[in-house]
């Protein structure tokens, strides 16, 4: 069976830490930074479990600030 690898790149400075991508992710890849904040003082999102990402774009689709880029590779 083909294995799908995904990854997201989050523009940290644009992220407002609204948590919607974290909730939208079906494989629980994303989390908000616990202690670190960006220049605007928001706890930005990051990939806590990169290996679980399937590149489905759910996080990027619901992101109100369009700060997520999604990459996907299908390994045959």
């Amino acid at each position: 069976m083909a294995k799908i690898h995904g990854a997201v790149v989050i523009e940290e400075e644009r992220c407002k830490g609204c948590d919607l991508c974290v909730v939208a992710c079906p494989t629980n890849v994303l989390l908000l930074k616990d202690k670190e904040v960006n220049d605007r003082g928001y706890h930005y999102a990051y990939m806590a479990q990169p290996q679980a990402c399937i590149g489905c774009s759910a996080c990027a689709t619901v992101c109100p600030d369009a700060c997520i880029e999604v990459y996907r590779v299908v390994e045959k």
Binding site: H5, G6, A7, V9, E11, E13, R14, K16, G17, C18, D19, L20, V23, A24, Y42, P50, G55, C56, S57, A58, A60, T61, V62, C63, P64, D65, A66, C67, I68, E69, V70, Y71, R72, V73, E75
Partner: protein, 261 residues
Amino acid sequence: MELSQIINPANKVYSRPALLDDNTMHYCPGCSHGVVHKIIAEIIEEAGLQEKTIGVAPVGCAVFAYNYIDVDWVEAAHGRAPALATAIKRLDPEKLVFTYQGDGDLAAIGTAETIHAANRGENIVIIFINNAIYGMTGGQMAPTTLEGQKTATTPYGRRVDLNGYPLAISDLLARLDGTCYVTRQAVHTAAAVRKAKASIKKAFKNSLEGKGTSVVEIVGTCSSGWKMTPDASNKWMEQHMFEKYPLGDLKDAGEIKPISK
């Protein structure tokens, strides 16, 4: 597989639409406006309509919409966006003209303009963000505020004996002969966003084909006004807003659809 192998331009499946300007949006974290701006930018970009599109910005939180989507914009006086859009479309019928309005703008101060533009069947698209509150001015009661909903001006909840009933203006617009397409969508999940995108795309198509007024209502959240986290707002919206404002097409191809409540 290493992250560096996955992250390369050849594998990119989703990125920020180029039509969205670089400015960081002034909206609060988790605001539905951001998602709707993004899908409008995507649609215009995918259809290659950038040079052909004129947006009419409202008064309300979306007043700065012209800072975010790289098309031509006109700023309307409060509630007068459909009247202005009528003028633009009549003077230049080849253009794609859309208004972007909130519930205070469209359903309160601009009720007359909205209803008459829709009744005349102007070939414009009205994108209506309904978050049941006046977000920009600090969360006062709007005509669309639900019964019992607490706002700055109804701190004990909206009372119908005092404040009247919530106004489902899209249902009203669906009854008018001038509208060809009236739909109600939301943007709280990825699936809902895709459906909303398809609806706006269809509305733009109707406008270009000269079929009449298309209205796309997006039931949205106002986490600051509702005083909840963005995620809790989405849940609250599913539980309470969808009961009064059920999602789906209210009218398509000139035919009124039965509303399931």
